[in-house]
């Protein structure tokens, strides 16, 4: 019988360890046998649905649930009043704010949760929503972050004692204001720009949801939930709901995409849990797409004012002032000590003299969120800003944008490099990576082609971006979320048969962990990947960790797996020494085997060592039996992947349609465990970047109505908008990571939007004088810029 595993392979040698290994998890997905949330059916399960506010800002005058309760298929209707008795009407957020689970006094964004219905099936649950009568008294809404702090702006968070305005988070600063002022004073060129990174949305193909199953006899709460950080959620539920943490189990199953959208705790989850406790039955709640787009964690929404300066052809200083729109509740996710996330990496890849960054956050009558969509904690915003500014500066200086970057890069000998905002970049050779990108792109040829096309009135643009990221949060002394340190664990057991199971903290949503983490064990221990089972997605059976986002799987969980494998290997060495009747220091390792130095025929295979470990035969003195180990990994620093991206666009001079003809991405993410998986991650992020640059945006009208609440209006790229991506690599191993690897999942989202926007401006600058445009570069917006009337997005 032919299976995925024993198909004739186009790769003759199947790697043991690192390499382009085809994925183990494919077997179920290509057969349609994945186990996603909506696939889970429990006996007696009932269905929940959320009634949502049509208004962006309104007082709730009354809620009448009687008609809904009269429906024979409706088991319960929960409102804020009911949750208040359970102490669950409000919940804490990751940013130490509070968020309404169900609105009681007021609704504060369109789509906010107002009531929760529990019914026998999802069709009836939907019917029942229309039977709930809510009377609202609309209030003026604030949707423009710049106006949120106006003196006459309506107060959104009147629920917070002492809150007198719409400031969500006071100004946070990094860098040195005085040194920056000096740099600007001495500069020969200065540019200023107002740059917006519009609100967009991760929109994973599978929406968010939960099945909560509370067993009143045992007190056990079983949760099924597509969730990027299940352990952290478990701890939060225990605190918030007053439940015993050891009696809560979260199983994620297969997740249809996360991209940061499945990190927060959503009101729907709390309602499902409360519903299950109250109804005494499993409650399934899965949001629809419009709920996902209108109420779950959005991304970006940064209004930025920036100045950059140069002297003698080199970038010397940067000033940035940001208003961050956090929506109606502050539920951004980032390590506690970094309220603006890692935005202060905006100093970029350049050897600046000084920089100064200020970020403040405001409340608006929009959905809460902000940190999502492969942003590496706001590094997408930071890199967008700095790379747009570098191009703006190049325009002003009349310099080639690549040349200006080459002149200003941090040089290889300067690493480890401490930036003007306190980062310590660990390693890099930026110019080399840029040159590889230029080679693949055929940069000089592209500029020639552009000149020819320009002469004929055709609009072609070449745009560049270069980024340095900081991913893999993080060291326990600097990084915690809600007081939980950002460390991950790994448990490795080698069975008597020599097969192994490794349990990991990281939580895949498609990143290929079942394969790549097996490859790490394979690399370290020589057990083939097909003999290593990777266990994850079950808080009862996997070590505590802070989850998968911020490209931290390889840097943290990957490191943990490497370290735990080495612990097992060290134990194996001791056992082998006993087996071979020699000393441990006389043994050398080749993948899968300890052997006697100088007598290589004499050795012990790992599977034989495993047999010995479990047998009754003698082991080294004071050693316990078994062949396993357990580790919690505390990363000493973040890892710093970087990359050079080049976009080639063609713009129709009459219709202003933008087409991305080519996209070249050269990433340096250190050692690559599975280059095939890395390439795939990059392809996906580049497609998302194209979406963000050209078409994805969440906008509102003056009344706070969300205008992009479906896939008809929130447009994401199809196969026709994406070119055949051209990838390259350089490999600069991370000096502190056990495998020399860095994270990479978010790099493409970080690097691609500025490259595309830079390309659009490059296409239009000479012919139309365009020197700035905000995303998304839809045909209408590009056309307006070509007419000399660029507008910020709504």
């Amino acid at each position: 019988m032919a299976t995925v595993e024993n198909l004739p392979s186009t790769v003759h040698e199947r790697p043991i360890g690192f390499g382009r290994l085809k994925r183990k998890e494919d077997a179920r997905f290509i057969r349609g046998k994945g186990n996603y949330l909506d696939d889970v059916r429990l006996p007696g399960m009932v269905h929940g649905a959320v009634l949502r506010s049509p208004y962006a800002h309104a007082r709730i005058v009354s809620i009448d649930t009687s008609r809904a309760l009269a429906h024979p298929g409706v088991a319960a209707v929960v409102t804020a009043k009911d949750l208040e008795t359970l102490g669950l009407a409000w919940m804490p957020t990751i940013s130490y704010d509070t968020q309404a689970v169900l609105a009681g006094d007021k609704v504060r964004f369109q789509g906010q949760e107002v009531a929760f219905v529990i019914a026998t099936d999802e069709y009836i649950a939907r019917d029942a929503l229309q039977l709930i009568d809510v009377e609202y008294e609309p209030l003026p809404a604030i949707v423009n972050a710049r106006k949120a702090l106006d003196p006459d702006a309506p107060l959104i968070r009147d629920d917070k004692v002492g809150q007198t305005d719409n400031l969500a988070s006071p100004t946070w600063e990094a860098g040195d204001e005085q040194a920056t002022d000096s740099a600007f004073a001495e500069a020969d060129t200065i540019v200023t720009r107002d740059i917006i990174y519009p609100r967009c949305h991760p929109a994973p193909l599978e929406t968010c949801g939960m099945i909560a199953d509370f067993n009143p006899q045992t007190g056990q709460l079983d949760i099924y939930n597509g969730n990027q950080a299940p352990h952290a959620h478990r701890t939060v539920y225990a605190q918030v709901a007053g439940l015993a943490e050891h009696m809560i189990r979260i199983r994620t199953g297969d997740i249809g995409g996360g991209f940061g959208n499945k990190v927060p705790v959503y009101p729907g989850y709390v309602c499902a849990i409360a519903g299950s406790i109250v109804a005494g039955a499993p409650v399934k709640w899965i949001e629809d797409r419009s709920e996902n787009l209108m109420s779950t964690g959005f991304a970006r929404d940064y209004v930025m004012h920036a100045e950059m300066c140069s002297k003698d052809g080199k970038i010397t200083g940067l000033r940035v002032d940001v208003i961050a729109d956090h929506g109606a509740f502050d539920s951004t996710a980032q390590p506690t000590k970094f309220p603006a996330g890692f935005f202060h990496i905006v100093c970029g890849s350049y050897d600046l003299e000084a920089s100064h960054v200020k970020v403040k956050a405001v409340y608006t009558n929009k959905a809460p969120g902000g940190v999502a969509y492969r942003c590496s904690f706001r590094i997408t915003e930071a890199v967008y800003l700095v790379e747009r500014m570098v191009d703006a500066l190049a325009l002003e200086m009349g310099a080639d944008p690549i040349e200006l970057r080459m002149q200003s890069f941090i040089a290889p000998e300067q690493f480890p490099y401490e930036t003007t905002t306190g980062w310590t970049y660990d390693s890099g050779n930026y110019a080399q990576t840029m040159r590889v990108a230029m080679d693949i792109a055929g940069y000089d040829e592209l500029r020639r082609e552009q000149a020819e096309k320009r002469a004929r009135g055709e609009l072609m643009g070449v745009g560049v971006s270069f980024f340095t990221e900081g991913v893999g949060a993080g060291p326990r002394k600097h990084m915690d979320i809600l007081g939980l340190s950002m460390n991950d664990g790994a448990d490795l057991r080698v069975h008597p048969s020599g097969k192994a199971m490794v349990s990991i903290s990281a939580q895949t949503q498609g990143q290929g962990h079942e394969t790549t983490f097996a490859q790490i064990v394979a690399e370290e221990l020589g057990i083939p990947p097909e003999d290593v089972q990777v266990r994850h997605g079950d808080t009862d059976r996997s070590p505590y960790g802070l989850g998968t986002y911020g490209s931290r799987s390889t840097p943290v969980s990957g490191a943990a797996v490497a370290v735990v494998s080495r612990k097992v290997r060290d134990k194996a060495r001791m056992i082998a020494a006993t087996m071979l009747e020699t000393r441990a220091e006389d043994l050398a390792w080749e993948k899968g085997r300890w052997y006697v130095k100088g007598d290589p025929e004499k050795g012990a295979l790992i599977e034989d060592i495993a047999v010995r470990a479990y047998s009754g035969e003698s082991l080294p003195e004071e050693m316990e039996g078994g062949l396993d180990a357990q580790v919690i990994y505390d990363p000493p620093n973040l890892t710093y992947p970087y990359g050079a991206y080049i976009a080639v666009v063609d713009i129709d001079p009459e219709t202003a349609e933008v087409r991305v003809r080519r996209f070249i991405a050269v990433d340096d993410c250190g050692v690559r465990i599975n280059p095939m998986v890395v390439d795939g991650q990059i392809h996906g992020g580049l497609a998302e970047g194209i979406g963000i640059a050209l078409m994805e945006v969440i906008t509102f009208d003056e009344e706070g109505n969300c205008l992009n609440g479906s896939f008809m209006d929130y447009l994401v790229p199809t196969a026709l908008e994406c070119p055949d991506f051209e990838l390259g690599e350089t490999v600069t191993p991370c000096p502190h990571h056990p495998l020399g690897a860095k994270g990479v999942g978010e790099s493409p989202n970080v690097g691609s939007p500025p490259a595309i926007v830079n390309a659009v401006i490059d296409a239009l600058h000479e012919s139309h004088g365009v020197d700035h445009i905000d995303m998304p570069c839809t045909p209408a917006r590009v056309w307006a810029a070509m007419q000399g009337r660029p507008e910020p997005p709504q």
Partner: protein
């Protein structure tokens, strides 16, 4: 009302409301949760199945409309343990990551190759333009369909 639909060659009879969507009829059948849904507005293509050999969006079709028609879902691709070339192709070229769009993509690809055994890259991208993938950027999906096209005659099982 009582409705009988042929799904993967088997007659499935059930009493359903007229408003039940085909996707739910399929997913309520044991072992047929491979067809997914991802939107409300017929845009995402996660729900694509074949009706009389043609890809359709099962979220925008009523179950009652399908009586008298042949529905094929992703579960029908593997026959007697032999994977369909499109399934093999997706595995070979790493054309899936989270797997959620994959059944819809597989059925669309299968129908494309049934009609056009040697599609160009442009034809492949057009054929799958009714389905969204957020993970792969489509490059490897195109490669998967090309792989399947190349390997069709050598690996396809005789029916």
């Amino acid at each position: 009302m009582q409705v009988t639909i042929s799904i993967n060659g088997e007659a499935v009879s059930r009493d359903v409301e007229p408003r039940q969507l085909l996707i739910h009829f399929i997913r309520d059948s044991p072992g047929l949760t491979g067809t997914h849904w991802g939107c409300d507005t017929s845009n995402c293509g996660a729900c694509v199945v074949l009706m009389d050999g043609q890809p359709i969006k099962s979220c925008t079709t009523l179950a009652v409309m399908c009586e008298g028609h042949e529905i094929r879902t992703v579960e029908s691709l593997e026959v007697n343990g032999q994977l369909d070339p499109v399934q093999q192709g997706f595995h070979e070229t790493h054309a899936l990551q989270c797997g959620f769009c994959t059944p819809g993509m597989l059925m669309t690809s299968r129908a494309l190759l049934d009609e056009n055994p040697n599609p160009t890259e442009r034809e492949i991208r057009t054929a799958i333009s009714g389905a969204i993938c957020r993970c792969t950027g489509y490059k490897n999906i195109v490669a998967a369909v090309q792989w399947a096209a190349e390997h069709e005659t050598t690996t396809r099982q005789e029916v």
